[in-house]
């Protein structure tokens, strides 16, 4: 088990360092100079040079890369060019929006998707099943920014029920903060809900024909009770796998929804920072996302290895 973990960790570390190098190099190639952008069109070349020196932009590539990598190992992500603030703190502030948004979207997608999947599976072949699955097709096919636009037009501009965007910090007013995440999380949750509904339905349909349901029926449970008590739990496994896979992608996928609802999340931070050539900030934010995904993969590998010794053996072979 130790060796297995060490090997997996090695793979994780290699992926991370290579990713860091790729990110650093790609961003270094971006046309446009951060110092010139900060100072605008009337700045003299000397002023630009002074700022470049102050920002450390005049150092050679490897020196800057190693300095950045070394800083990250001790938790220092550098100082934002444009905002003159520690990148770590700036990112942490944005995660306070993006993580709850992602979490809320996942919960919503389960609240909407799973019951629909269960209902459709229970009434398989009925009109309700067909109707719900057609609905699910729509859910998968709707671009989330377009759906967000329509939600704002209906619930904010016309009905004035919910804010059209923006964010009230958690510290100021938790209810207000939650309120500002309602529409974005619905826009984000819809496609996920539709996928979940379809997965849940398929999984349940498979389960309904299985032996343990028949056994439960034989013990005198109704079909409803049998499916609810045994089927759903078993069907949840594929569903959870999908959820786990999609969490990381949801975090990154918020970038567009954050634009529609002008939420101060991580996705928009990256988007804005790229257009301001605040490369330190972009690098830090992307590496955090990469870390989240590779870290999740690493932990999942460990858990699977711990749960299933065969995997360890196969991997060693």
């Amino acid at each position: 088990m130790i060796w297995f973990a060490v090997r997996k960790f090695f793979g994780f570390a290699v992926t991370f360092v290579v990713a860091a190098l790729v990110i650093f190099a790609a961003l270094d190639l971006l046309p446009g100079d951060p110092a010139r952008f900060i100072l605008g069109i009337n700045a003299t070349p000397e002023t630009v040079a002074a700022l470049q020196h102050q920002l450390g932009l005049d150092l050679p590539f490897w020196q800057r890369f190693l300095r950045w990598l070394g800083g990250m190992l001790v938790g220092d992500f550098g100082t934002s060019y444009a905002q003159n603030q520690p990148v770590g703190a700036l990112i942490a502030g944005r995660l306070a929006v993006t993580l709850p948004l992602t979490f809320l979207a996942m919960v919503l997608s389960m609240l909407i998707g799973l019951p629909i999947g269960i209902l459709a599976a229970r009434r398989r072949g009925s009109l309700a099943d067909t109707g719900l699955m057609v609905l699910a097709q729509f859910g998968v096919a709707v671009p989330n920014f377009w759906f967000g636009m329509l939600l704002v037009l209906l619930f904010s501009v016309t009905l004035h029920w919910l804010p059209p965007g923006g964010f009230i910090p958690w510290g100021d007013n938790p209810a207000g903060a939650l309120n500002s995440l309602v529409l974005p999380s619905i826009a984000l949750a819809l496609p996920q809900a539709a996928i979940l509904a379809r997965v849940m339905r398929t999984a349940l349909v498979d389960v309904q024909g299985s032996d343990f349901i028949r056994a439960a029926r034989a013990r005198g449970l109704t079909m409803s009770e049998a499916v609810w008590q045994h089927g759903v739990r078993n069907a949840l496994l594929p569903v959870l796998t999908i959820l786990g896979l999609q969490f990381a992608f949801l975090v990154a996928g918020t970038v567009i929804v954050e634009n529609v609802f002008y939420l101060p999340g991580l996705g928009r931070l990256i988007f804005d920072a790229i257009s301001a050539r605040d490369l330190v900030l972009v690098r830090g934010a992307i590496i955090i996302l990469v870390l989240a995904v590779t870290g999740t993969m690493f932990l999942t590998d460990l858990l699977y290895g711990w749960a299933d010794p065969r995997l360890r053996a196969r991997d060693a072979a």
Partner: protein, 288 residues
């Protein structure tokens, strides 16, 4: 290949979803491709004087904020969306499938490397990499194809590898190898035809996802650029005017929804028909 066509022909009658989906998708494809030779009006020539008109005999769906005919716009937009998504799928399949087959055929370090590479691509947030690519090389339809295509590579690699592994133990492969065929020849002559159905199903799904991805990229201004148009770019342009003329946003939006549904239904039907073992759609959508 011939067995595949045979199966399609047999299944066509029984699967209504396959029929509806395929026909609908083909209709949209046709609408898009007619624009190569003909549109009611040229969309490059703007006529600001007749902007924002309602539906009329001259303009069936009205005109947009620059006086362009919406029917023509939808036709050209559909075409661009299809082309971008299709080329992105081609990039993914042409690179991903050989990689996946190679990984399954040789195993060992090659497989490890290919799996790590695909993990590596999965580890990057797709949209954000697309943003960087388009900032590096300039926004535009071609770079959008590449950006979307890159993320199709690991998807196809995994599907091909999975399909190939499930065939590996089969006798005829062993027979082929005994007959002196190389790994590569076995993969090409025996494995590829047998996993073709898997790849086609995946391609249909990725095509639908590609159309959505193109729309997202164009929405943030990094996809198709004027004077060309795509359904995503139409949506981006329309949002400013959605309160004045909602149809500007509704028409391209609904077109996207209908195309994606058509493709997904066709894909589902194909899958049910070709490979009943693959009913768990979720596994295929992990790359969403």
């Amino acid at each position: 290949m011939s067995s595949l066509l045979e199966m399609l022909r047999r299944g066509w009658r029984g699967h209504w979803s396959l029929r509806i989906g395929t026909i609908a998708a083909l209709v949209f494809l046709l609408i898009g491709f007619v624009s190569f030779v003909w549109t009611p009006y040229p969309i490059e020539r703007l006529d600001v004087g007749s902007a924002m008109q309602g539906p009329s005999l001259a303009h069936w769906l009205g005109t947009d904020h620059l006086g362009r005919d919406l029917v023509s716009m939808v036709m050209k937009g559909t075409r661009t969306s299809f082309v971008v998504a299709a080329i992105a799928v081609a990039i993914g399949a042409l690179i991903g499938v050989p990689l996946g087959l190679g990984a399954a055929a040789w195993g060992g370090p090659l497989e490890w490397l290919i799996l790590r590479l695909s993990d590596f691509l999965f580890a990057f947030p797709a949209l954000i990499i697309a943003i960087i690519i388009t900032t590096l090389f300039g926004p535009g339809a071609i770079n959008a194809m590449i950006a979307v295509g890159i993320f199709n590579i690991p998807v196809f690699a995994r599907v091909a590898r999975g399909g190939a592994l499930s065939l590996k133990s089969l006798d005829y492969l062993a027979a082929g190898r005994l007959a002196g065929l190389s790994n590569w020849e076995v993969a090409r002559k025996h494995v590829l035809p047998n996993i073709m159905s898997l790849i086609i199903v995946q391609a249909t799904i990725q095509l639908a996802l590609g159309i959505l991805a193109e729309a997202s990229l164009s929405y943030v201004g990094l996809g198709t650029q004027a004077p060309a148009t795509s359904l995503g770019l139409m949506l981006k342009d329309a949002q400013t005017y959605v309160l004045l003329k909602p149809s500007l946003a509704l028409i391209p939006g609904l077109t996207i929804v209908l195309i994606v549904i058509a493709l997904n239904i066709a894909g589902d039907g194909l899958r049910d028909l070709l490979d009943p073992r693959l009913k768990r759609i979720g596994a295929l959508r992990a790359a969403d």
